[in-house]
Amino acid sequence: MKPPAVEAEGVSVRAGEHFILEDLDFAVPEGALLCIVGPNGAGKTTLLRVFLGLAPLHRGTVRVFGAPPGKTSARRIAYVPQIKTLDRRFPSIAIELVLSGLKGRWPGPVGREERERGLAALRLVAAEHLARKPIASLSGGEMQRVYLARCLVGEPRLILLDEPVTGIDAVGEQDFYACLENYRAETRATLLIVTHDWQVASYHSSHVLVLNRRQIGFGPPAEALTENTLRRAYGHLGHMHDSLRGSGGPADV
């Protein structure tokens, strides 16, 4: 039997005396799309870092495709960090950023074969025309597409995305998720997406993890993304999308 794509057993992460994550227990099957939702400071980014092997565990076990995170081939895992953390002062053109995802180091002079692979990845996200543009001149939406191309170029089996559509308009967001869904359908890759958008979590995901340092809910959206779990995670729900209150949404549960 195939191991889950990612698995957390009793996972806790601490910074000094303070727990960032506490007692997480869940397993995400291969080919799933997991949305991780929770308020600011809930530990969502830390959880992605745990699966990348970048955040040391206080206790518990994490496995990625059945192996400890550091032991899984980095080439099979792609990570799209929050775009706001990107250093735009770095001298680079878009295709170099894409190829860094293929090579696992920064590219020097780009050969013909590499260029073709980079362009093919940019074509997948309709961004081929950006290949030679300096990253400093790209808009937020363009940059996110370039990052997605960077992520897809290595044909990963697991993709971790941290608030990938922040600052992108509605059309750009739809295109972005369409690209991801296509890739997932073609390759059965597993996607872990940190998002603040409950609607995205509700309609795009196969699984949802509601997190606020502790695991508040986990499972298919209709089970995990309920008014009760959201209220426990956020304290109050504030403005809730009408669509979420409709059929299949958390308010029904």
Binding site: L52, P91, G101, K103, R105
Partner: protein, 263 residues
């Protein structure tokens, strides 16, 4: 015009200048892009502490300065790695302590400190065979470490992405700090403690202004570093003015030119 290059001391100066120009401008791209420009000054002053210790002990100063500066560089990297202090803060602490140690060692020596003065301002025209071999050795080491360029560049762009892709960024940081430290020590002999920081920063900063890619920035920085050394040396010979200062002026001219033509 070319007669000046027929003198052995000028040939040695040119060769040493080119080697130091290459080393400083190559490592300078990482220093500038990581916002560590103060590191050059800090390590040069660490070298001063090491030189002073060498003078006090009565041994060849550079042989003491080398391990001393490497230790300081690794300590700065360790403090940066293990604490939340900014790189420049860590550098500032070791900078001050090294200078204080240097002053103490020179005072304990109780003799005229002409050698130390020469190291403050450099003596490119007095470069000897040992200095040349040392510079060549460090340049060879830098060339041997060229395969690390892509990993250093990746971590310079984004440490998390590089780490997530399996790059051991901490180990690479220590290797980079070690190489920068030994490059600074050989540069100190040639251009002096006061001017080493300029060698590490100005060519790379000029290249950053006009380059579209990090690879292009690296090549341009090396070209600026080597050319400005040769031109500065030639001009200083013609005008009979200090070579180190004239090389810096040439580098500054490159920077101004880059500023004027940048896209």
């Amino acid at each position: 015009m070319f007669e000046m290059w027929s003198f052995p001391f000028m040939q040695r100066a040119l060769l040493a200048g080119v080697l130091v120009g290459f080393l400083s401008s190559y490592f300078g791209v990482f220093i500038v892009q990581r916002g560590l420009s103060f590191l050059g000054s800090g390590l040069a002053h660490a070298a001063f502490g090491g030189v002073a210790l060498g003078l006090l002990l009565g041994v060849q100063p550079l042989w003491v300065a080398l391990p001393f500066t490497v230790l300081v560089a690794l300590a700065i990297t360790l403090v940066r790695d293990r604490t939340h202090l900014a790189g420049d803060t860590a550098t500032g602490i070791f900078f001050a302590v090294s200078v204080a140690l240097g002053v103490l060692f020179l005072a304990l020596r109780q003799r005229y400190t002409e050698d130390a003065f020469a190291l403050l301002f450099g003596s490119i025209l007095a470069v000897n065979a040992v200095d040349l071999w040392m510079s060549a050795g460090v340049a060879l080491l830098a060339l041997a470490a060229m395969p690390l360029w892509g990993r250093w560049a990746y971590a310079t762009f984004d440490r998390d992405l590089a780490e997530a892709d399996g790059v051991n960024v901490r180990r690479d940081d220590y290797v980079l700090s070690f190489l920068i430290a030994i490059a600074v020590v050989v540069a100190v002999k040639v251009v002096g403690i006061m001017l080493v920081a300029a060698f590490l920063v100005i060519p790379a900063a000029a290249a950053r202004l006009v380059a579209r890619t990090f690879f292009g920035m690296t090549l341009l920085s090396i070209a600026f570093g080597i050319l400005s050394t040769a031109v500065g040396l030639a001009v200083s010979y013609r005008l009979d003015v200090p070579s180190g200062a004239m090389i810096i002026f040439t580098q500054a001219a490159c920077f101004l030119l880059a500023l004027a033509i940048r896209r």
